[in-house]
Symmetry: C2
Subunit: 249 residues, 2 copies
DNA sequence: CTGAGTAATTGATTTAACTCAAGGTGGGGT
DNA sequence: ACCCCACCTTGAGTTAAATCAATTACTCAG
């Protein structure tokens, strides 16, 4: 059974069809400007993208797209957060990634052939996304090939980051996977401690790390009682990341 | 302990320093031409890349580069096969990818900052690789931004493929991970059966799938006795992939 | 504030996978 | 041909994690 009740079970149709107001918000525009895929764009070209795009509101647990759906848009998160997941035929729900405000996702669709979404995407809470037609960005790259430099850098980084995610998943025991996941959440890795916020509810972090929610809970309780992690709801305080790494392996 | 004896334990220094003969082989050149990153290059530009590159012979289990080493080159496999892996501080050896003849690897280094290899790379048998200076390819993209299109397509595909690898690893049980891995090796997925060759020795496939060699062996023995897979050394014959998928989940 | 529903925790039990250990097997070198 | 050395397989015992089952804690809507 699914680990959590998904949008799939609640609201039957994805909502990409909805047409909303154009994107004219100043704050959101600033955020878009600072994303690597858009930072280099001229004012005019950015305007073109925005004209072609639509702003979309997603409710709690609302489905944005389905696995295998034709992919003609990619997305930028103006506010809120989402997750990417897959559903087995048996209905097992496996979380693959969490998406935060300021992130782009499904942007690989710009070059996918055929363009079909590789997973489901749903909002974890009320969120605003910018729906960007793949074609619009392609047009821009066609006209100004210099823009490809930034895109290349972005894609290379994304590939590295996926590789790193994969690396975590080849760690064989649940505790060590969780520890590595936590270290990655820290802004400076093992360099210095700090407070991190889980980007997903605990049961979905568990799913992301290929373990059961009960296992997640027990491991975290362990780390807590060993004084390695201080837990407050979805906020974790890690004072000494190096100690965490030392007990793993 | 390491699952298998690695180059690390045998030969202490990576061999990137070696300077070999330039790349002038016709067969290898054809293969390079057909790689997405090089297919679009003009004869002159390809020649430039080849002039800057060196051909390198690697012996069985020879180390090509180390995790965290400064990365000024990327690679194209002319013949043979390699694997990418990481080593924990406790010496646990985790295989992350297998590289076959005709593949490019570490090519994300063209855009990495700072450019450091994310893992180890070693030859699994005697192999020939083309050592391409990152700078050479960067120069080309600088001069002809149109080349970036092909590179973008390649990087997007790579990101998708890593995402898919990650997806396999979120499958919680060993048997189902193995089944999915096998299906992916089939040229047409579940569409039709066929013979596949494991791209890695069994103990390394096990490592790649985050399980012990013994577990791998037992699962394969199970599948064999159920008539789902016919095993001949590292060659597996899968007559009905759909049946395999059906028993997973 | 209160109750309903979801998420998180905790306990007891079962099971899948790991570990340790002992044989096989097949290919490459002498 | 033979032996040697990896690699692989198989077995027995142990352990980590899954499963099943309750209880507790939040969150949100009314």
């Amino acid at each position: 059974m699914a680990l959590t009740q998904t949008a799939e079970t609640r609201c039957s149709k994805p909502i990409l069809v909805a047409v909303n107001k154009p994107f004219d918000d100043e704050g959101g525009l600033q955020a878009l400007r600072s994303h690597p895929l858009f930072a280099a764009l001229s004012g005019q070209d950015l305007q073109y993208i925005l004209q072609q795009s639509r702003r979309l509101h997603l409710g709690h647990h609302q489905l944005l797209y389905r696995q295998d759906m034709p992919a003609h848009q990619f997305f930028f998160v103006i506010s809120g957060c989402l997750r990417l997941y897959r559903l087995d035929s048996s209905g097992i729900d496996r979380t693959l990634d969490s998406i935060a405000s300021g992130d782009c996702f499904a942007e690989v669709m710009i070059y996918a052939d055929p363009p079909r979404y590789a997973c489901y995407a749903e909002a974890l809470k009320a969120s605003e996304v910018l729906v960007i037609p793949v074609k619009a960005y392609q047009d821009l790259l066609e006209i100004n090939p210099r823009y490809a430099q930034a895109a290349l850098r972005h894609y290379a980084k994304r590939a590295v980051s996926r590789f790193h995610d994969l690396e975590i998943m080849t760690v064989q025991n649940a505790r060590d996977r969780l520890i590595r996941y936590l270290i990655d959440l820290l802004p400076n890795g093992t360099e210095e401690g700090g407070e991190v916020e889980l980007p997903l509810p605990k049961c979905l972090v568990a799913s992301r790390l290929a373990m059961q929610p009960e296992t997640f809970s027990r491991i975290l309780a362990d780390l807590k009682s060993s004084g390695l992690v201080r837990v407050n709801r979805s906020r974790l305080f890690i004072s000494d990341p190096q100690r965490l790494v030392d007990i793993s392996q």
